[in-house]
Amino acid sequence: MTGRKTVICVVHAHPYPTRSRTNRALADALRKMEGVDFRALYDLYPDFDIDAAAEQKAVEQARVVVWMHPVFWYSVPALMKHWFDKVLAYGWAYGDGGAALHGKHCLWVPTTGGDERDFTPTGLHAHPFAAYAPSVEQTARFCGMRWEPPYVIHDAIAIDDGGLARHVAGLVERLARWRAEPVVGEAVTR
């Protein structure tokens, strides 16, 4: 956080961030952005002792929530799932009086080890990547968030430097749009 008003809250879940190439490059870039509260869950809560109140406060202050993580077994990493379980609580995210997330934008940034060919009916994973997205998407929608087109990064381990740099720049640019022109940005989304 830079001390200026938070616009974007990035919830990042990677158990070994220093071992990761793609996630580390993305994290480094997003941390430098103004108006971004970057929350590296595995650094904050290595014992899975999530401080739900602190997480909720961070999310409340932002207009955009980013869920960024490597895809593990077609899903989110364990701590990200635990974050859903603890932070998206009854009476806050849903249920009686649970409207804290209503109207906020949700951008999903999954990174995968496979390339696009793997996510085809004849590929390693037998389905297009979009087939694995509904549970995350519906989590956001159930909490009243506006689901943005996900920013999916494939081939995160083998990707070359140029490709990685383009991905980083692309993500930064998408986030910068909300930061620069908040009102218009909201109107633009579908």
């Binding site: 158990p15 070994y16 220093t18 595995y42 650094d43 290595p46 496979g114 381990i157 083998a158």
Partner: protein
């Protein structure tokens, strides 16, 4: 003196276990012992009255101990039962018994005095019986206690009123307002002593660490308060009870209870013996019919009126006769009342003697009535199901032994979660400090069996052994294993030796006090060296698992030093290999990702 002690102790040692074995209870055993050695038995003891007088102090000690278990708030909560139920009992039983007296041809005045005196029950017998049967914490037991408490309060005005009822005018004694002032003064003195003076003195005495001085002070306290009360003309037992209540919330409660207990038990026994000795079989021989009529009338009328009282007080229907049987006997106070009434000319000597015997017989009849009650209840219940156990209000607490840096965290966590814990510690300063922070801590040596018992080890669901001294910690473990084998223990270990000692004693859950914090420190070091926080945690987890497995393997051989050394060395080798394998696996996974195996 020594000869008398020999006689009493021998009689008790012979008769009490015998009576218990026969299912008659200890009280009847003592009474029979008294009959056996008394003037109408073997004539081993002559001076019955002075012994009775001396042993009444057992009742005083008993009420002190009862008071210790009753905190002021709880006593306050009983006020309805005491003043409503208790007064009702005294009035109803007294009136009915007095009517009985009139029927027997007594004057109205004499019948009123006798009726009220007979309406009183024996606190000693009733409480002792309830304690033996574990009835004190039940709702029925609390109602019975409330009735007994009011009787103790009422006995003094009753005594004071007898001279006023007498035919001849008031002679001697101080005027009533002066008497009232004395009583008020004494009660205030007890309040001040119990509330403000005793604890600081106890603290000084306890910190001297000389056990017998603590015991001496405990006795001094009770005797002093009793004397003060008797000077003011208040029942000694009531004064002791009040002092007990005032100390119920103190950290020394269990220690006081533990120290007073043996004296209380012995003196109560002596008291029952003296009641047995005091039964005048000569008079019984000369006017047997009258005495039997009085005795039977006392029992029957009291049973019936008590049954009605139990109904009004809301005692469950299954327990009303038990309540009545527990309180149907005449009390020790009746002896005093008859004596005073005789002196005042309200009762003639023969009638007073007959009443005294009837009361003594009714005391002896109590255990028999209870046996009969049990038989009838069992018969009525038939072969049907046994009644549900009474659920104790107190619940099953966690006992925490040792409230230093370690036990404190455990206890505070339990308190934070709204759970009850009984904490024992023997460091006076520590106890004092924590009390100031509002923790319920009791002073005492947790390795002592009687203190454990007083703290409720028999009912506790768990013992946390957080004592820092290793020898004490092991002593406590042995004590609990021996006497409360079902009580689970969670223990703190100072080091590996201590850990293994505890494990080899069958303690399932043992935590080394520095192990977890050292692992955390190790994690911080790895993190500072640039390792991901979650990876550092995984390394610590792996280390813990391996370390505990190695330690467990040591437990069976820990006395064999050579074996321990080889095991430990092998353990270190294994650990190195394990970490090397784990690291290789981790690296592969991180490098290859989802492409692996494809």
């Amino acid at each position: 003196m020594m000869r008398d002690a020999l006689v009493y102790l021998a009689a008790a040692v012979v008769c009490v276990p015998l009576a218990k074995r026969l299912g008659l209870g200890s009280i009847l055993g003592y009474l029979l012992a008294g009959v056996a050695i008394g003037p109408w038995g073997l004539r081993l003891v002559e001076d019955v009255e002075s012994i009775m007088h001396f042993s009444e102090f057992g009742v005083v000690l008993m009420l002190f101990v009862i008071g210790l278990e009753l905190e002021p708030q709880r006593l306050w909560g009983m006020r309805g039962a005491v003043f409503g139920g208790g007064t009702f009992q005294l009035a109803l039983s007294g009136a009915v018994l007095a009517a009985g007296g009139v029927v027997l041809g007594m004057s109205v005045t004499a019948a009123t005095v006798a009726g009220l005196a007979l309406a009183l029950s024996s606190t000693a017998i009733a409480m002792q019986t309830m304690a033996e049967r574990n009835l004190v914490p039940t709702p029925m037991g609390r109602s019975a206690f409330a009735v007994l408490l009011l009787q103790d309060i009422a006995a003094i005005p009753l005594l004071a009123a007898i001279p006023l009822l007498a035919a001849h005018a008031w002679t001697g004694g101080s005027p009533p307002w002066q008497q009232a002032g004395k009583v008020l003064g004494a009660v205030i003195a007890v309040l001040v002593i119990g509330r403000y003076l005793t604890r600081p003195v106890l603290r000084v005495v306890a910190s001297s660490n000389i056990r017998e001085v603590f015991t001496a002070f405990a006795l001094l306290l009770v005797i002093g308060i009793s004397q003060l009360m008797s000077l003011a003309g208040v029942s000694m037992a009531l004064g002791a009870f009040l002092a007990g209540v005032l100390l119920a919330g103190s950290e020394y409660r269990h220690a006081l209870e533990t120290d007073i207990e043996p004296f209380k038990g012995l003196l109560l026994g002596l008291f029952f013996i003296s009641v047995g000795m005091g039964i005048d079989f000569g008079l019984l021989e000369s006017t047997p019919k009258v005495i039997l009529v009085i005795f039977a009338g006392l029992i029957v009328l009291k049973l019936v009126t008590l049954w009605a009282v139990a109904t009004v007080m809301g005692v469950g229907s299954a327990q009303r006769w038990l309540f009545a049987a527990l309180l149907a006997q005449g009390g020790e106070f009746a002896f005093v009342v008859f004596g005073v009434a005789e002196t005042a000319g309200v009762l003639d000597a023969q009638r007073s003697g007959q009443l005294t015997i009837a009361v003594a017989l009714s005391m002896a009849a109590t255990p028999l009535m209870l046996l009969l009650h049990d038989k009838i209840a069992a018969w009525r219940a038939g072969a049907a199901r046994r009644p549900d156990d009474e659920i104790r209000e107190s619940g099953n607490p966690v006992i925490i032994a040792g409230f230093g840096r370690f036990g404190q965290i455990v206890a505070r966590m339990l308190y934070a979660d709204g759970r009850r814990a009984i904490v024992l510690d023997h460091d006076t300063e520590q106890v004092e400090l924590l009390r100031r922070f509002g923790y319920k801590v009791f002073y005492g040596d947790a390795t002592r069996l009687d203190l454990l018992r007083a703290a409720g080890a028999a009912d506790a669901c768990l013992l946390v052994n957080a004592i820092d001294d290793m020898a004490d910690s092991l002593a406590l473990t042995d004590r609990v294993r021996e006497h409360f084998p079902k009580l689970p223990i969670i223990a703190r270990a100072r080091n590996v030796t201590h850990y293994v000692e505890l494990k080899s004693r069958g303690v399932d859950v043992v935590e080394r006090e520095t192990f977890e914090s050292a692992l955390r420190t190790g994690r911080h070091v790895l993190e500072t060296l640039g390792v991901d926080r979650f990876r550092a945690r995984e390394i610590a987890d792996a280390f813990r698992r391996h370390n505990l497995a190695t330690l467990e393997a040591l437990v069976p051989h820990f006395r064999d030093e050579a074996r321990v050394l080889t095991e430990a060395k092998a353990g270190r080798e294994e650990l190195r290999e394990f970490f090397a394998r784990d690291r290789a696996q981790f690296e592969t996974e991180q490098r290859k990702g989802w492409k692996a195996g494809s």
